[in-house]
């Protein structure tokens, strides 16, 4: 019997079964892909109108997530003076060394086309800021949204979670689909798969007090759960110092 390691080491591909593309065509497709990814990263405003017009009850329709704000246990006393402005020295760009844009332009976190998070609410934000790190294959976008109080921020987060659940149910099997990855008492992670080849935007939303932090990054190979997990871990790691600094928006500010 031949040695299996010899067989492996002399493994050859017995001829390609299809004509390989010429290098120039590969480059042309690559250039087109880059342009498309930039365009995908730049859109966002499209979803806003539909979001504003969509009744919240519909968004919460499938019952997987309760969009009703939590009762008194999470509602702080009316005496809490919520911070409603973003401090000038807030380190929103921490972990994003190549930040090229700040302020707020427009970037809604799509759960699926027509549904997602928007700074216009409801409930509407009282302050919002955004930084973007330019990448060749898609931007890394980070948005800090401040609400009038913790109840509004919670409602916004839970509404988004309901929309993600709704999108996951209604887009299953489509070329653009939503994956509801994880959620806990103060955060959620979801994936907006934009192609069948594994291209996706991975979103992570974290609430601290009356503020939400929304991080979005582009990833590929997201048909593999390990890649999604890796992207989610990266979002968490890179945003950790910002989440720490968000204690300024908690009921007991730092």
């Amino acid at each position: 019997m031949p040695d299996p390691m010899d067989e492996l080491e002399h493994f050859t591909t017995p001829g390609l079964t299809m004509d390989a593309l010429p290098a120039a065509e590969v480059r042309r497709r690559g250039t087109r892909l880059r342009r498309r990814n930039h365009a995908l990263a730049a859109i966002g405003g499209v979803a806003a109108v539909a979001i504003i017009a969509t009744p919240l009850a519909m968004a919460a329709g499938n019952g997987r997530t309760d969009s009703t704000p939590p009762p008194a246990t999470q509602s702080p006393s009316p005496s809490v003076a919520w911070v409603r402005e973003i401090p000038a020295d807030f380190p929103l760009a921490d972990g994003l060394p190549g930040t090229t844009r700040s302020g707020f332009v427009r970037s809604d976190a799509d759960a699926c086309p027509g549904l997602g998070w928007s700074p216009d609410g409801p409930p509407a934000t009282v302050a919002v800021s955004q930084v973007v790190q330019k990448e060749t294959e898609g931007d890394w976008t980070r948005t800090l949204a401040v609400y009038a109080d913790e109840e509004s921020a919670t409602r916004s987060r839970l509404d988004l979670a309901a929309r993600v659940a709704q999108c996951a149910a209604t887009t299953d099997g489509r070329s653009r689909s939503t994956e509801d990855v994880a959620r806990d008492a103060g955060s959620l992670v979801y994936v907006d798969h934009v192609s069948e080849a594994g291209d996706a935007f991975v979103h992570r939303v974290v609430q601290v007090g009356n503020a939400l932090l929304l991080d979005t990054t582009y990833s590929m190979g997201t048909g593999d759960p390990a890649v999604v997990e890796q992207a989610a871990d990266l979002l968490e790691t890179k945003s950790a110092p910002v989440v720490d600094a968000m204690c300024v928006f908690s009921a007991d500010p730092c």
Binding site: T17, R34, T136, G223
Partner: protein, 164 residues
């Protein structure tokens, strides 16, 4: 990486990477499509590729992830077969031993198969395999050892069946 460098890189490594990915996933067509797509992305992300210490490893990893991604989606019934490269044409039939080896590789656990392919077919030292897969060297050594044993047993069984 400019156009000429990319073209040279593509010409020199396309078939080699396709063979490695083929050994990992067991389908030549799928391997070729995924490697082609990985090179498209390599050009789209060429600044990232410039920063990569091992561009060939970047393309191989991307192609493998694409293959896994496609496979999972196919399993979930989401994706019809995609033939985006070019028209299929007849190629020489592989040898019996080659078919047996590919079939045996497909029966191995994914992690063992990946380690065997990267070490024995891509000819990477253990520490490079560990870096590419993202696990400690000891884990790769264990996967190689178990993979070799399992592969030898599978091929011996197959040989026995043929002679029976």
């Amino acid at each position: 990486m400019d156009e000429r460098e990319f073209d040279d890189f593509y010409s020199a490594s396309f078939q080699r990477i396709t063979g490695q990915v083929y050994a990992m996933i067991g389908s030549r067509d799928e391997a070729q499509e995924c490697v082609q797509e990985a090179f498209v992305r390599a050009w789209a992300h060429r600044r990232r590729l410039d920063r990569a210490e091992h561009p060939e490893a970047w393309v191989r990893t991307t192609a493998y992830r694409l293959a896994v991604s496609r496979w999972r989606r196919t399993v979930r019934g989401r994706r019809p077969a995609d033939r985006a490269v070019g028209p299929a044409y007849e190629s020489a039939a592989p040898s019996e031993a080659h078919v047996a080896l590919v079939a045996a590789l497909k029966l191995l656990p994914e992690a063992q198969r990946q380690a065997l392919v990267l070490h024995h077919i891509a000819d990477l030292p253990v520490h490079d395999v560990a870096r590419e897969v993202g696990v400690p060297e000891g884990t790769i050594k264990a996967r190689l050892s178990r993979g070799r044993t399992a592969l030898a047993a599978l091929l011996a069984d197959e040989e026995g069946l043929r002679h029976a």
